[in-house]
């Protein structure tokens, strides 16, 4: 029995990203293709940024189309706003690590429990995640200059939009109940990653 074509395509894409993944850094990655692609590359290759986005998109998808649309609207916009605020400020890296770990933990628990929160709360989560992660992205971009930083942010925002649209849309359209359970298992894993990262940050964080 052969896997469906979409699955095989997805597996190939996953392999390309898995083999191309590098150690995540506080600064943005350099692709050599210009600042827009640097921004896209940063989001896709930085687990500390992409995991909360995936978590938020999964949760928004579980809560339905309206929550997905609001997340799609708020997350990229607030991420950019947070990054612009970060460009003009200093941030403590340890606070960023702890917030990242806590965001994994909270989003993971919400997904695992399939918590029926109102749509407004999902939008508030998008604002919080976007604002804080964007802020620490902005802090990391301070040395890059305003124009390259804004172009990188454009790449990040475009990728955020695509990720949230694809993941939330996928979850909203799941036809069977057991498929939602798979999403909840993924959520429990995200929460476990958050808890371990939090312990790591408290033990070894600078």
């Amino acid at each position: 029995m052969r896997a469906p074509r979409q699955c095989r395509k997805g597996a190939r894409l996953f392999l390309v990203f898995a083999l191309g993944a590098t150690t995540t850094e506080a600064h943005l990655v350099t692709t050599g293709l210009g600042p827009v692609y640097d921004g896209i590359g940063h989001l896709l290759l930085s687990l500390d940024d992409v995991l909360p986005v995936v978590g938020l998109a999964l949760f928004a998808g579980l809560r339905g189309p309206k929550a997905g649309r609001l997340t799609l609207l708020f997350l990229p916009l607030i991420w950019i706003a947070g990054a612009i605020a970060g460009l003009a400020n200093h941030g403590q890296p340890i606070l960023g690590q702890i917030f990242t770990a806590c965001s994994f933990l909270v989003l993971g628990i919400l997904i695992a429990a399939d918590w029926e929160l109102p749509t407004v709360v999902v939008a508030a989560l998008a604002v919080l995640v976007g604002g804080v992660h964007g802020f620490f992205n902005g802090v990391a971009m301070r040395g890059a200059g305003l124009r390259p930083a804004l172009l990188q942010l454009t790449g990040i925002a475009v990728m955020l939009f695509i990720l949230v649209a694809v993941i939330s849309g996928f979850v909203v359209s799941l036809p069977r109940a057991w498929m939602r359970i798979v999403i909840r298992v993924v959520g429990s894993w995200i929460a476990a990653i958050g808890l371990l990262s939090l312990g790591w940050s408290l033990r070894f964080g600078q």
């Binding site: 150690t23 995540t24 687990l47 500390d48 690590q97 990242t100 695992a112 359970i181 909840r184 298992v185 429990s188 894993w189 929460a191 476990a192 990653i193 958050g194 808890l195 371990l196 990262s197 939090l198 312990g199 790591w200 940050s201 408290l202 033990r203 070894f204």
Partner: protein, 169 residues
């Protein structure tokens, strides 16, 4: 962890989903306690006991009426496994990658157990799964014996001193 997957496959739905959710989460709680330095007594004994009891459950094809009992058993042992990993961890380069690897490896081991456990749909497969459970239980008994009778560890310094010639010879 493979025993958890095997047992989940024997118990069927919804345990096959519930156990792989419970174990990584509780294991992460144990890892967190270990990382922040909160002690847990008898960790090595707990790890040995987990293989012994979970292997015995698979070997005996035990199916409790209430799902809470397998979840609690798996949860308690997950705490011990996670704590052992958390305390033995040395400072590394990236805590997030470590955490992701830790959780994915746990999940994949459960997946292996569930995959192997699916052969239990056939009568011969059922026997093979039970034999696998018995093997895990025997390994657990050995771990437990080793944990209860730890060998004194000789440090490199004292070994070097013993090997060195006595002064004045």
């Amino acid at each position: 962890m493979i025993a958890v997957g095997l047992w989940g496959a024997q118990l069927g739905v919804p345990a096959v989903w519930l156990l792989p959710v419970t174990f990584p989460l509780v294991m992460a709680i144990g890892g967190f306690l270990g990382l922040v330095g909160i002690p847990l007594p008898g960790v090595e004994i707990g790890v040995g006991l987990s293989a012994l009891l979970l292997g015995a459950m698979v070997a005996g094809e035990v199916k409790p009426r209430k799902l809470i009992w397998p979840a609690m058993l798996v949860g308690v042992f997950g705490l011990y496994h996670g704590h052992a990993h958390g305390t033995e961890l040395a400072p590394g380069e990236n805590g997030l990658l470590y955490s992701v690897g830790f959780v994915i490896a746990t999940g994949l081991l459960h997946g292996c157990g569930i995959g192997i456990g699916l052969i239990g749909r056939w009568p011969t497969g059922q026997k093979i799964v039970r034999v696998a459970g018995a093997t895990i239980a025997m390994a657990g008994a050995w771990f437990l014996w080793a944990a209860a009778n730890p060998k004194p560890i000789e440090s490199h310094v004292s070994a070097a001193k013993a090997d060195a010639p006595a002064p004045g010879r």
